[in-house]
Symmetry: C2
Subunit: 157 residues, 2 copies
Amino acid sequence: MVEPTRDPPGSGSPAREQPPAALSDRLGYLLGRAHMEHRSVAERALASLHLGVKEYGALSVLVEEGPLSQQRLGARQGVDRTTMVAVVDQLERNRLVARRRNPDDRRAYSLHATPAGRRALEQANQAVEGAEDEFLAGLSAADRRRLKNLLRTLIAP
Amino acid sequence: MVEPTRDPPGSGSPAREQPPAALSDRLGYLLGRAHMEHRSVAERALASLHLGVKEYGALSVLVEEGPLSQQRLGARQGVDRTTMVAVVDQLERNRLVARRRNPDDRRAYSLHATPAGRRALEQANQAVEGAEDEFLAGLSAADRRRLKNLLRTLIAP
DNA sequence: TATTGTTATACTCTATAACTATA
DNA sequence: TATAGTTATAGAGTATAACAATA
């Protein structure tokens, strides 16, 4: 295992070595490496839109399922409400999400994606799909579908 | 995205929700969820052997490729040498790895797996294979091979 | 009394910088 | 001068505890 660390802060990717043979049949190693390498491609693709993966995920859920309270938005992704504060702060600063008050419960927000937020999500989806294409370049279209279906089966409750 | 957070420190798994539809076709989300859920199963399986995933990975590489210096052992996994100190400390405390001096370069260690370390690795491999079986329970043997092969293709240099 | 959002704080993980002993 | 291992420290990320406003 030892899922390798993310790319170094300063530079680009380090000169990666050959995967250790002792680990190359371990599912944890394969999932960790794939996840890390994909994330690095996806982060680059989203950077031009000033979105991190956390913000992208939250915006996606909000556009599809909103309006939502801040706590519900976090719960949909398994993220603590205290962590959501900074994520929504960031989205609000960029005018992609608006914090309205929920008149039925004035403790909670009613978070709405703005029109600019919906447009940004469309662009971000294209960017992320481009990143997936790049990452999956070595697989046929059928294999890409197979991979996603296998993963979906694994994480289905 | 927003690869969900690892299980909470205190409790077991939180009551997970249905995956957000907006993300269920995103490769990053699928890889992140799969990786996290598998890791949680693998950590449980290794806990009875007093091994973490980092220690397991290091021991695996050392048994297969050793003897190695501490820095080389880290480099094989993309891990910084400063991070390896505590990992090898832990393995040495449990008498699974011995730090000998390399007579050709007395700055460096020559790390060796002890006989107990090799025995522990065999047990750990069985435990991790059991964890994989548990995690992959929903897939046929052919699909399990397919999944690993697809992931290997993706991360191959 | 319980809950939403917030802040302050702590904890985990990992890297960078600086030190030592060797080369 | 450079490198292996070590330590101290800093940074990112996320959680817990405590607080104000509201229920």
